[in-house]
């Protein structure tokens, strides 16, 4: 015979267990709901700010294989304000146009042509400390053997354009076609970034002797107007 107080205790404990199980189930459900809400609510990429929605006129220097010319062409495109991203966007657009099948300077490549673009302030040598500079004021200035190539490098920035190897490897080989590609890039940078005085190319972060077997790609080029009028003499 089970005493009365034991039956009451058993029922009380049983009721408590059921209540606890119910509570645990409810907490479990709430946790699952919260985790699901976090994963589903992945923060969307911030929409471009108002700066990029405004289009502006950009000058491209477009190459033409048949005529052997490089001519300026203005287009309205939306650009970010940050200079390196801006230059990269301009050059990507330039190469995108060359990638079209009906381009007068057709270049076939997969993916993007530009890996990275960055600016370096000139001159590249570190500035002298004030005391050292004061000490050397009476010294005779020895002209650098590369003085004439450094003349334009005293001010402004050097734009370093890091091309993708897939682009360089797929570039057509020939003196004329390689020259037109590089002059088109140099002229486009000059037209849109007057603060850039020198331009250097890398391919996947390394120097490369030639673009596609001819044009020297390991030099530092002056940023200048590379517009080429037709010099073609036809019979």
């Amino acid at each position: 015979m089970i005493p009365r107080y034991q039956r009451i205790l058993f029922l009380a404990l049983m009721t408590l267990s059921v209540l606890m199980a119910g509570y645990l189930w409810r907490v479990h459900q709430r946790t699952i709901t919260r985790l699901n809400s976090i994963s589903n609510a992945a923060t969307p990429i911030e929409a471009p700010s108002g700066d990029t929605t405004q289009t502006e006129a950009v000058t491209f220097l477009m190459a033409d294989d048949a005529a052997g010319t490089i001519t300026p062409s203005d287009r309205q495109i939306a650009l970010p304000t940050e200079p390196t991203i801006r230059l990269r966007a301009i050059l990507e657009r330039l190469f995108s146009d060359y990638g079209q099948t009906d381009s007068p300077h057709p270049l076939k490549f997969d993916g993007t042509a530009i890996a990275d673009v960055f600016f370096l302030p000139l001159p590249l040598t570190p500035p002298k400390p004030p005391e050292a500079a004061g000490k050397n004021t009476g010294d005779k200035t020895i002209p650098s053997p590369t003085a004439f190539t450094d003349m334009a490098a005293r001010n402004g920035y050097m734009a370093v354009i890091n091309l993708r190897q897939s682009f360089a490897d797929a570039h057509p080989s020939g003196v004329e076609v390689e020259t037109l590609t590089v002059l088109s890039v140099l002229g486009t940078v000059h037209a849109n970034f007057p603060q850039v005085s020198r331009i250097r190319f890398l391919v996947d972060g390394k120097t490369r002797p030639t673009l596609a077997g001819h044009f020297s790609l390991d030099r530092v080029y002056p940023s200048s107007d590379t517009t080429l009028q037709s010099t073609k003499e036809t019979p």
């Binding site: 294989d65 048949a66 052997g68 053997p145 590369t146 004439f148 190539t149 057509p172 080989s173 020939g174 003196v175 004329e176 076609v177 020259t179 037109l180 590089v182 002797p209 030639t210 596609a212 077997g213 001819h214 044009f215 020297s216 030099r219 080029y221 080429l228 037709s230 010099t231 073609k232 003499e233 036809t234 019979p235």
Partner: protein, 270 residues
């Protein structure tokens, strides 16, 4: 001695002051003899000079005149095949064929031709710097780098894009290897202009631009690169097309031979 002066002037021999009596043959440039005569010379010495002057025409006839040298560098070669003009036609085969064709035309016009290599396999161990050293030592009045392409139509002439500096006698001061062409750019532009005019007269479309080519930038001679592109239905390998361009180039070089800018360098080497 006025009568001696009159005698030499009658012979058409210029007289210059110097510390002795010399009769020299300036055969290096033009082959014209020049007599250097001291004003206060002894009579026997003057007599010897007069006799020598009488013999000069014979000596002039016997002195072999060096033919002007043209350097031809067929681009690429060996493992470097260059561009692919068609599926089975590498650039190196076209450039060497064009170089050999041009060599024959230049030899019959009285030039001495120096080739960096004569067959594609000859260039197996020839580096870019090796070609340039060979060219700079050749003493050429014109250095032509020959290329071919399957892209842009017609003939394309290129000179170095290095900034022009004042023409200087080579060897007078050290120059940077990859900027050695700078003092020669003005002459190279002139040569390119002559070649463009001649090729245009041969009814072939031709352009003339500047570029950055390592092989041009290190040369110490009037230097241009010539690229043969396809023309109508013909590739750069087409013999008729090559012959037409080669004859135009050879004709232009014949004219260049007498040009004041057709000078040679001492030969920069790395």
């Amino acid at each position: 001695m006025p009568w001696i002066r009159a005698f030499f002037l009658l012979l058409g021999i210029p007289i210059e002051k110097c510390s002795g009596v010399f009769i020299t043959e300036n055969a290096h440039r033009c082959g014209s003899p020049t007599l250097h005569l001291q004003e206060k010379c002894s009579k026997p010495a003057l007599f010897a000079a007069a006799v020598a002057a009488l013999l000069l025409p014979a000596a002039r006839a016997q002195t072999p005149v060096q033919p002007p040298i043209i350097l031809l560098d067929a681009a690429h070669g060996g493992p470097d095949t260059g561009a692919r003009l068609t599926e089975k036609l590498p650039e190196r085969d076209v450039t060497i064929a064009f170089a050999n064709r041009l060599q024959s035309l230049l030899i019959v016009r009285g030039f001495k031709v120096v080739l960096t290599h004569t067959t594609p396999d000859d260039a197996a161990n020839l580096t870019g710097d090796g070609r340039v050293e060979l060219a700079n030592r050749s003493g050429a009045i014109a250095c032509l780098s020959l290329h071919a392409s399957g892209n842009a139509a017609g003939v394309h002439i290129f000179t170095s894009a290095l900034p022009e500096t004042a023409p200087a006698l080579q060897g007078s001061k050290p120059v940077l290897w990859n900027e050695a062409q700078a003092p020669w750019v003005t002459r190279s532009l002139r040569l390119a202009s002559e070649l463009q005019a001649a090729i245009s007269r041969s009814h072939t479309p031709v352009t003339n631009n500047r570029t950055w080519l390592a092989e041009l930038d290190s040369l110490t001679c009037p230097a241009v690169a010539i690229e043969l592109g396809p023309l109508d239905d013909a590739t750069a390998q087409d013999p008729t097309y090559q012959q037409r361009v080669a004859e135009a180039v050879a004709g232009a070089l014949l004219f260049w031979r007498g040009h004041p800018n057709a000078v040679t360098g001492a030969g920069a080497v790395r």
